[in-house]
């Protein structure tokens, strides 16, 4: 499945956390490639290490061992500011709990990643407005999160994740806080954007039905990949 240049490549990555002097493994050695335009689902029960894997794939964290290359860059060689820049340019996140800034308009929420890119307010707003239009919220630019429905909030979060035109979109239980119908619409939107813009979509979920929609499924248990489709 992997194209000529992969969005993310992981070779035998492991991650353990120190706890009371002991090293507790959360991820025991995962090898995985996310190709450009890929659509894969990571499934598994809670505690299986799928969140840890997602944090690693999104450059929020570093593996304790193994080699992790995101957007062509080896994470082990990057400083904290360089990791931040990598996240800004290459990765987009969508969270279960939306994580929108309160008291901040949909437009400014979407424009937030561009703030850290040093763009001027005018350019930021222009791009954010266009992105909100693509997720069907062109008429909700000035609304605050508290004035939006759950589905709308998640659309704002998706727009924020994609406004930087990343190579990979990591969605952690994106429908977890939504009812079935709204969740279905959000998933459809993510799939459309994946197909249209070529952003690789990585869906982290414990919902087998949701996972079944992906092109590939990675099933995890106890920090290991048990099945790779």
């Amino acid at each position: 499945m992997s194209g000529p240049v992969a969005a993310v490549e992981a070779y035998d990555i492991a991650r353990s956390y120190p706890l009371d002097g002991l090293s507790v493994p959360a991820l025991r050695g995962v090898t995985l490639t996310v190709a450009k335009g890929d659509y894969l689902a990571i499934v598994g029960p809670s505690g299986s290490g799928k969140s840890t894997l997602m944090h690693l794939l999104g450059a929020l964290d570093r593996p304790t061992s193994g080699r992790l290359v995101i957007g062509g860059r080896d994470v082990a060689k990057l400083s904290a500011p360089e990791m931040a820049r990598l996240r800004n340019e290459t990765v987009g996140f969508v969270f279960q709990a939306f994580h929108l800034l309160p008291r901040t308009s949909a437009l400014d929420n979407v424009a937030l990643p561009l703030v850290y890119r040093g763009l001027r307010a005018g350019a930021r707003r222009e791009r954010a407005a266009a992105m909100l239009g693509r997720v069907g919220l062109g008429h909700r630019l000035t609304h605050r999160p508290s004035q939006l429905s759950g589905g709308e909030q998640q659309r704002v979060a998706i727009a924020r994740a994609l406004v930087t035109e990343p190579a990979v979109l990591l969605a952690d239980e994106p429908t977890g806080n939504l009812d079935t119908t709204t969740g279905e619409a959000v998933l459809a939107l993510l799939e459309t954007l994946n197909a249209e813009s070529g952003v690789a979509l990585v869906l982290v979920t414990h919902d087998r039905e949701v996972a079944a929609r992906a092109r590939r499924q990675i099933v995890m248990r106890d920090g290991l990949v048990v099945s790779c489709g």
Binding site: H55, L60, R85, R87, E89, F93
Partner: protein, 394 residues
């Protein structure tokens, strides 16, 4: 992140929590206001004292019996008019020598009466001290030589005894003895805590007879120029000590008085400003505390910002600017309040306020510095937060 953007974010965050921001600022506001006000009043008081001492006249030397020192008991004077003559011989010019013998007495004009300071003086007083007459004339040498019962009234005394009537030529009694009013002083105000409009001047010889004494409380000499003051003082003290071997004499200059008073006021202002500074420090601790709370409360926001590409530095700068904004806004408010309070004190009391640009600049600089010093720890903590942990927090 652009700096202008960081300011905007900090301002938005402060506005989101108006009450808390306001209360946190209050500590800095009070501290800065107190510093500005106390420095203004202290400086004003110092300037006022300087003006008053200089307003007495220039190149003055005041000769007193006893050691002139703070805490020393006032000595009983053994000076007499013959000592004054001896001093006059040293000075070589009678018009440069003034004397006084003072007593509190009741003065009456008809039904009106007033308790006031009666000063027995020589006709030279207006040449030595700064005193001007608004009506009539001052004492003459013959008034002094012949012990005439004539009096020059202080402005307040004249007004309370005679109201709007012209007191010149009128009779008053001092301690029951009749005097004729020959002059009224122009109002002068207070000088070193003494109301100089609440006194009357009579010839020193008349005063001696009235009070049944021959003492002179003090001698004042106006030196021809500044350079001669201390040498002249030494010669006068030496001569008086020779004449009264068992008594100590002191000659103090205006500069010495100013020096001592200036030191006292300086220390007082310093102590008050230091206390005010402590309150500024306490305000800073409050800012630090609130910023730490704010970092904890906004952990998820920090995690999110990091996830979308904020560097540790971006987050640190954001929180630092928030703290600096908090304290500088407090500083500016405190400055305005401090200046207003100083002006209010000036309006309702005789203490003038001197608002110096450096105290205002200092207060502003210090409040900004307080923001930096007390904002650094919370800002670093925010910047170092692990985004994974931050995103997970509820």
């Amino acid at each position: 992140m652009r700096v202008s953007e960081a300011w905007r974010v900090a301002l938005t965050a402060l506005r989101a929590n108006r009450l808390r921001s306001g209360l946190t600022m209050l500590g800095v506001v009070i501290g800065v206001a107190a510093v500005v006000m106390l420095v203004a009043i202290g400086t004003g008081a110092k300037q006022m004292v300087e003006q008053q001492v200089e307003g007495l006249g220039s190149n003055l030397l005041i000769v007193l019996p006893g050691r002139v020192d703070f805490g020393a008991a006032p000595a009983v004077s053994r000076l007499s008019l013959s000592d004054v003559d001896a001093v006059t011989r040293i000075v070589g010019d009678r018009s440069r020598v003034a004397v006084s013998v003072t007593s509190g007495e009741t003065v009456r004009a008809g039904a009106a009466s007033r308790f006031t300071s009666v000063l027995g003086v020589m006709e030279t007083t207006p040449q030595v001290f700064v005193r001007s007459i608004s009506r009539g004339s001052y004492l003459s040498r013959s008034d002094v030589d012949t012990s005439r019962r004539v009096v020059v009234l202080g402005a307040d005394v004249g007004r309370s005894l005679f109201g709007d009537r012209d007191p010149i030529g009128q009779q008053i009694t001092i301690a029951g003895v009749r005097f004729r009013v020959i002059g009224v002083f122009a109002p002068l105000g207070q000088s070193l805590g003494v109301d100089r409009d609440d006194e009357v001047h009579i010839p020193v010889t008349t005063a001696h007879r009235l009070l049944g004494t021959s003492r002179v409380d003090g001698i004042a000499v106006k030196a021809p120029d500044r350079e001669q003051i201390s040498a002249l003082g030494d010669r006068i003290v030496a001569e008086l000590s020779r004449r009264h071997p068992d008594t100590e004499f002191s000659a103090v200059t205006q500069e010495q008085i100013l020096g001592v008073l200036g030191d006292i006021l300086g220390v007082l202002t310093g102590v008050l400003a230091a206390i005010a500074g402590i309150s500024l420090l306490v305000g800073g601790v409050g800012v630090s505390n609130i910023m730490l709370v704010s970092v904890r409360e906004r952990t998820r926001e920090i995690g999110l910002r990091k996830a979308v590409g904020a560097r540790p530095r971006d987050i640190g700068v954001q929180f630092l600017l928030e703290a600096v904004l908090l304290t500088t806004l407090g500083g500016v408010t405190g400055m305005v309040l401090g200046v207003a309070a100083a002006l209010a004190v000036q309006a309702i009391s005789p203490v003038p306020a001197a608002i110096t640009w450096w105290s205002v600049a200092l207060a502003f600089g210090v409040s900004a510095a307080v923001g930096i010093v007390f904002g650094v720890v919370p800002a670093q903590r925010a910047g170092r937060l692990d985004p994974v942990v931050a995103l997970r927090s509820e």
